[in-house]
């Protein structure tokens, strides 16, 4: 359980793995709740977004709200009016997959008051192997920018440190100092450590708060 709240916002630096984590989170929450919604709020990047994986979610009975032109060839960042109805509406769990950095989190700001009223956790997905957030200080800076843009406060950190297909148990273990320092810098708890399911056993008790995930975001030659 990463959050008891009605709304879970997944934010972070570009390419930190927000979308893949959001999909996993939605699938996991669906095991507990009947009515789960994933809102794809990434209006910055038209590639590799959670709307592209709608069929995986649909099969499990998870609702999804995408930007209006997602999946079309139009590069128009328009959010769906359905988001207004969904926040604080009848869903037992609402997961919001925000866009990268402060630019991507800006879209959240418009909904911040309603999100606060409904009750939320905002999880900051951190990957120490991303060069622009490669030190805890830089990671903290990006988090502060996201908070300012979204007018919301992060409540926890998800350690999603990985190197794509080169990820091994050591890759994850080596991130523990970084994540501890980041956690101390921003004064937030580490909610979980997301690891590929096939190396979860190997990570074992040396990694705290293990959260096994499947990889949904993959290039066509791996499908």
């Amino acid at each position: 359980m990463v959050s008891e709240k009605n709304i879970i916002i997944v934010c972070g630096h570009y390419g930190s793995g927000k979308t893949n984590f959001s999909i996993n989170l939605a699938l996991r929450e669906r095991e507990k709740y009947e009515k789960v919604l994933l809102i794809d709020m990434d209006i910055v990047n038209p590639y590799f977004r959670s709307s592209d994986y709608a069929d995986v979610l649909d099969k499990k009975g998870i609702d999804i709200i995408s930007p209006i032109y997602a999946g079309s060839t139009l590069d128009i960042p328009a959010l769906s009016p359905r988001i207004d109805a969904a926040i604080g509406g009848g869903y037992q769990k609402v997961i919001i997959d925000a866009g990268g950095d402060d630019a991507g989190a800006t879209a959240l700001g418009r909904f911040s008051e309603r999100i606060e009223r409904a009750g939320y956790d905002m999880l900051y997905v951190a990957n120490m192997y991303r060069p622009l957030v490669g030190t805890p200080e830089k990671g903290a800076e990006v988090l502060r920018e996201i908070e300012a843009a979204s007018r919301l406060k992060a409540t926890g950190i998800v350690n999603n440190s990985h190197l794509g297909e080169y990820t091994g148990a050591d890759t994850v273990r080596l991130s523990s100092d970084y994540i501890r320092e980041l956690s101390e810098l921003v004064g937030l708890p580490v909610v979980c450590t997301a690891v590929k399911r096939d190396i979860a056993d190997e990570c074992g008790p040396s990694v705290s708060g293990l959260y096994p995930i499947d990889i949904h975001v993959i290039p066509p030659w791996k499908e």
Partner: protein, 350 residues
Amino acid sequence: MSKRVLMKGNEALAEAAIQAGCIHFFGYPITPQTEVAAYMSKRLPKIGGVYLQAESELAASNMLLGAAASGIRAMTSSSSPGISLKTEAISYMAGSDVPALIINVQRGGPGLGGIQPSQADYFQATRALGHGDFQVLVFAPSTVQEIMDLVYLAFDRAEEYRVPAMILADGMLGQMMEPVVIEKPQTSAHEKPWAANGHKNVRKHNIINSLYLQAEELENRVVERYRRYEAIKAKEQRAEEYLMDDAEIAVVAYGATSRIVKAAVKEARERGVKAGCIRPITLWPYPTDTIVKYRDKVKCFLSVEMSMGQMVEDVRLAVNGAAPVEFYGRTGGVIPEPGEVLDKIMELGR
């Protein structure tokens, strides 16, 4: 030891340029290359560089011409429709022998087209990056790591031959994330006695110019440049050969498409069809020598592209009638799936 990091193709294009000593970037945002500019805007001010978002693509490429004329390493980047706008200055760079780097992260066309990956700018890159008699060096990476290597090489060779160079990527490669090791380039910037960087009263003015009103003088300039092109064709062809030793079907593909093709080639072999892949790494100069090496050995060639069939013409020119040359492609931003390519290989293998 160099550190391994996880990078987007677009970020690697930018970081590689910085590692190669390019701290002057002039650009304009366009999907799917915007992360190149975004990355530069974050990194360059911190290291004393210049990031400039120009008022238009043409302005950005004219700024590049000016910056590179002073002898520094500089670059611009865009995606297909934006590259069309840049071509005037690219022709001027070629005409005034200024080395500079231009990046094209291709999307579907023509016109505004779409924002999904494409390889439909092959003709533009290899034949028509502007008016007049000229070529630019064109490099086509297929992995995020190779992006780093080819950006280094592109700067180096552009300076060696005094020609503009292009990295021809596509939206898939620009957007995908892979682990990369960032290593410093082996080579450093070349001497540039021609650069317009201030004569300091110790030498004559250096003039960077592409205007030659006397026909014979202009002809001489162009002919001299074509001698350099001949040297480039002799020395700079690059291609990767994958499972080609005993191949009967040679599938030719570049960039991200080659990775789909390799997956299909491997599967075809498991089904008893001896396929292999030739992956051009330089598109100009085209690796004609590699194609020639195999043209009497294989049963046929198959060019696979994210276009209606452009590179296939260079395959045909190289094969020169020695074997059949087939084509399979998807366009408009549709990425061919390994299964589709496999079907085509199996059909030819029958």
